[in-house]
């Protein structure tokens, strides 16, 4: 018996033959391994990855010279945004152990991060983003304008987060005429993704909602991660009501930012953007009031003008009538004139009439010494017949 085995103490006498059972040796080895290592960070390349339906992950971590089997239990695995791809370089926080059933040395992984900063998160984000892109949901042309004077504003966020207080404070200052409807949802943790989706759908069904803000205050990358979930992004993209995404601080960009009608850098900024100032609203009302007053004033002016125009036309019509009649009168007079028998006198003829006005047409009508009137072009003269006529 080698002296090293003494390390195992009384177990060396587990069987009568002095030999150890397999379970005993693996059990002891397990104890030794677990006692010999504290929590470690190990760096390596992921290979032979398999995620079981149970949610547990099994994979190998390797470098050029060696490899080790790893397991990541469901509760830890589901905190990660995405499964690692083959060949990705990762750091794992783990406890070495020995899996007795297979006598296999392995690492129980509690956390995994890609060696490139946030590699796994980026990986998930990229996948989700690609999927949204394929469906045309990232097209900026899909973005709608926000209503100018929203009176009913819904906010999808946590009721105990800073985001809600910030939004309420900005709206209270700038646009207290509005009604703020809070649709509560957990914004981080296991339930965040599902709760955000259903709260968004609920907010979209509230009658009369003009605009919806979805978001949360700042936090770690993991805290903000629900807003990078593909399902949440798709729900935001599907909203009937114009929606503003406001996640974290200025520098944080979430997937929901890319599909919303507007991305606000912070929840406060979202409220600033959504709310007009009361001054602007009063201004708009005053402007309409002035236009309304003018429109009626103009209408009476237009009416008066029209009346005047009508009067003018009436006058013109009457005048025309008079003129037409005068003209007609002139014409008639002219014609009358032309028909006058006296007109012939203008050509040098004269007409003789007796005192009774009887026209003297024949010689016989003139007796010697008889007076008669002779009418010429411009008047009458009186004449006496010197020698009466006889035939």
């Amino acid at each position: 018996m080698s002296p090293e085995l003494d390390l195992f103490g009384p177990s060396s006498t587990d069987t009568s033959s002095g030999a150890l059972t397999v379970s005993a040796v693996t059990g002891r080895a397990k104890q030794l391994v677990e006692a010999g290592f504290r929590v470690l960070w190990v760096k390596g390349e992921v290979a032979s990855f398999k995620a079981y339906r149970s949610g547990h992950w099994y994979f190998t971590l390797r470098d050029e010279l060696a490899q080790v089997r790893c397991v990541m239990w469901r509760d830890n695995a589901r905190r990660l945004p995405a499964q690692p791809v083959e060949g990705i370089q990762v750091f794992v926080e783990c406890r070495p152990t020995l899996w007795e059933e297979r006598g296999e040395f392995r690492l129980t992984v509690r956390r995994m991060i890609a060696t490139e900063a946030d590699g796994l998160w980026e990986l998930q984000l990229q996948r989700a983003r690609d999927a949204l892109e394929r469906d045309g949901l990232l097209d900026p042309a899909r973005r709608r304008n926000l209503p100018r004077f929203p009176m009913r504003i819904a906010v999808v966020t946590s009721t105990d987060g800073a985001a809600l207080r910030d939004i309420a404070s900005v709206l209270g200052r700038r646009w207290p005429a509005a009604e703020l409807l809070v649709v509560p949802a957990q914004v981080q943790g296991d339930k965040a993704e599902q709760q955000l989706c259903s709260a968004l759908e609920l907010a979209d069904r509230i009658p009369g909602v003009d605009v919806i803000i979805v978001g949360r205050g700042g936090g770690s990358r993991e805290d903000l991660w629900a807003f990078n979930a593909e399902a949440v992004a798709r729900t935001v993209a599907d909203m009937r009501t114009p929606t503003v995404s406001a996640v974290g601080h200025e520098t944080d960009i979430a997937l929901t930012d890319l599909v919303a009608d507007l991305r606000a850098p912070t929840p406060s900024a979202a409220a600033e953007t959504v709310a007009p100032s009361r001054k602007d609203a009063l201004h708009a009302v005053d402007h309409l009031a002035r236009r309304l007053a003018h429109s009626l004033a103009n209408r009476t002016i237009v009416g008066r003008e029209r009346l005047e125009r009508t009067g003018d036309r009436l006058l013109a019509a009457v005048q025309g009538q008079i003129e037409r009649r005068e003209r007609r009168l002139g014409e008639l007079a002219g014609r009358l004139h032309a028909l006058s028998p006296l007109r012939v006198l203008q050509r040098g003829y004269a007409v003789a009439r007796n005192d009774q006005g009887q026209v003297l047409k024949t010689v016989r009508q003139f007796a010697t010494g008889q007076r008669f009137r002779l009418t010429v072009q411009d008047g009458d003269i009186t004449a006496v017949t010197e020698r009466g006529g006889s035939t």
Binding site: A177, L202, I206, G208, V285, A289, L292, L296
Partner: protein
């Protein structure tokens, strides 16, 4: 949930009234009717802006897809 006209709807209707008064040939009776409606709506719109305290409510999902609200203290 109430369904009274929102501020936006008041403004939209006002805009339409003003435009009708400005542009179209209306009877005087119609014009005066519209004008009076406009004055009423202006009053309502101004009143809406008079609120000084933001109303904050929590939305709760009721039975069978109904929606109700509850007061929410921040």
């Amino acid at each position: 949930m109430s369904e009274q006209p929102t501020f936006r709807e008041e403004l939209e209707r006002l805009e339409a009234i003003v435009r009708a008064l400005e542009d179209t040939d209306l009877d005087l009776d119609q014009a005066i009717g519209l004008f009076e409606e406009g004055v009423g709506r202006l009053k309502t719109a101004r009143k809406m802006l008079e609120a000084t305290d933001l109303t904050v409510k929590k939305v709760i999902r009721g039975a069978r897809g109904s929606i109700r609200t509850d007061d929410l203290e921040l």
